[in-house]
Amino acid sequence: MKILAVAGDFTHLLVMSFRSMFSPPWRWKNKMAALYFVAVESLPVIIICVGFAAVVTIIEASYHMKIVIQSDALVPGFAAILILRELGSVISSLLLGSRVGAGWAAEVSSMKVTEQIDALKLLGISPIQYLVGPKLLACILGNIVLGVIANIACLFFAMLISVFKLGYTSGMFLTTMRVFVNFQDLLFAMIKSACFGATIPLIACFCGFRAKSGADGVGKATTDAVVGISVAIIFLDFILSYIFSHFYAS
């Protein structure tokens, strides 16, 4: 019964948040601030982390392929598929979820605890429209852009390590990569990023709105948000990958 109530509350938040994105007041200042926080401020940490993930992927793939099939000639191609289909969007979204999701959950929960949410309602302002709407739009758009940049960064680092560690030329890397991946992979990666991006503010704000009083309540809401976002991204990744696999097959 309690689970149903929670699911109902989340569905209400989801519907109202998407509605608020397309209805006035537009609050461009809030949306731009959220977009800056999501896309610009998260960019360095995401590039560094996905870069190292790409490097590790290439080294590990090369090592194991050499053991099994005595050649790592397919590494650039496999790595490119893995990067575009999984690493670029999933790792950048998980990082964004930890950074931005934790911040927003803490912000909303402390607003709840200090009665700012009630004050908003009394002033005739919908907390969902004011707090969630701008974050949702910013996170969807921001994560699409971040996903594309993360994929490019990943491929670039993968190419670097292939040149300096595995002895391929950049031309060989790009040619092999081109055989294995196409524009559809990038498109699906962008769809994944958009879905993961929507998950982050929805879960962060949902946990924030349900925060109990006190510093303990804010801490628990933040922890719940980060865990919830991570689990949701991984679960959504499975669902989306399964759906997209039908398109890959054809």
Binding site: E115, Q116, D118, A119, K121, L123, S126
Partner: protein, 246 residues
């Protein structure tokens, strides 16, 4: 003006308000007193629809607010201002933006009129205009509380709900805020419901006092009637006032 009838509210099986009934007349100052956790703040939040009672009705000028949805509640909220236990100022906005926030939404005024109301409301709470560009974190807690009152006053409500307005304030600011509640009620005919622990203040300015204990009204009446009460908790409150005076 406001009539509460058989209000009941419980959380996870714990009854917080049990069959609460009383009424508040226009321009009256009603103090709701009681120890912590007796449902005083919950009662106040029910009054403006921030919470819904499990049963009972709250008539605001004849309209049962319990039955209203968020959109319909907006009309009630335009007439009711609430000062929360916390200052509840928006951290990311300056004092000026905090004050203008509700005005833009509720009153739909032009910028000049908003600026005029901002200045007037700050004057009402004895704050200078040089704090207008500061963020809430840059001013003292007492100032934040007064800005919170100014934000509510700016929308010219007919009813003011105070949730422990003087908690955490120094005696001078406490007296100033109590005086402000009195002035608003007498000068502007604003109806005030004040949740408090401060019996001394209630005796000074209240028209009616209601004492809650474990979700029940254990005493209500005029100041004189409550002063004569034989209910142990009310006598304890009175004793506290006597000790403070001596």
């Amino acid at each position: 003006m406001i009539k509460y009838t058989n209000i009941k509210k419980s959380f996870s099986g714990r009854t917080v308000l049990n069959d609460i009934s009383f009424s508040v007349a226009e321009g009256e100052i009603v103090f709701i007193l009681g120890t912590s956790g007796t449902g005083k703040s919950v009662l106040l939040k029910n009054t403006v629809g921030l919470m819904k009672p499990d049963s009972g009705e709250i008539l605001f000028q004849g309209t049962d607010i319990v039955q209203l949805n968020e959109e319909q509640l907006l009309e009630i909220r335009k007439q009711c201002g609430m000062i929360f236990q916390h200052p509840a100022l928006f951290d990311s906005l300056t004092v000026r933006e905090n004050l203008a926030f509700g005005l833009k939404r509720l009153k739909k005024l032009n910028d000049d009129d908003i600026e005029q109301l901002i200045k007037q409301s700050l004057e009402d709470v004895n704050l200078s205009l040089d704090i207008l560009e500061k963020k809430p974190s840059e001013i003292s807690y007492g100032m934040q509380k007064r800005v919170s009152i100014a934000r509510t006053l700016a929308i010219h409500p007919q009813v003011l709900l105070f949730d422990e307005p003087t908690t955490g304030l120094d005696p001078v600011t406490t007296t100033a805020i109590n005086q402000l509640i009195y002035t608003l009620s007498r000068k502007h005919k604003i109806t005030s419901i004040v949740v408090s622990h401060d019996m001394g203040c209630a005796i000074d300015i209240a028209d009616k006092i209601i004492v809650l204990d474990k979700g029940n009204i254990i005493e209500q009446g005029s100041v004189t009637e409550v002063q004569k009460s034989q209910v142990p908790l009310v006598k304890d409150f009175m004793l506290e006032v006597s000790n403070d005076i001596s």
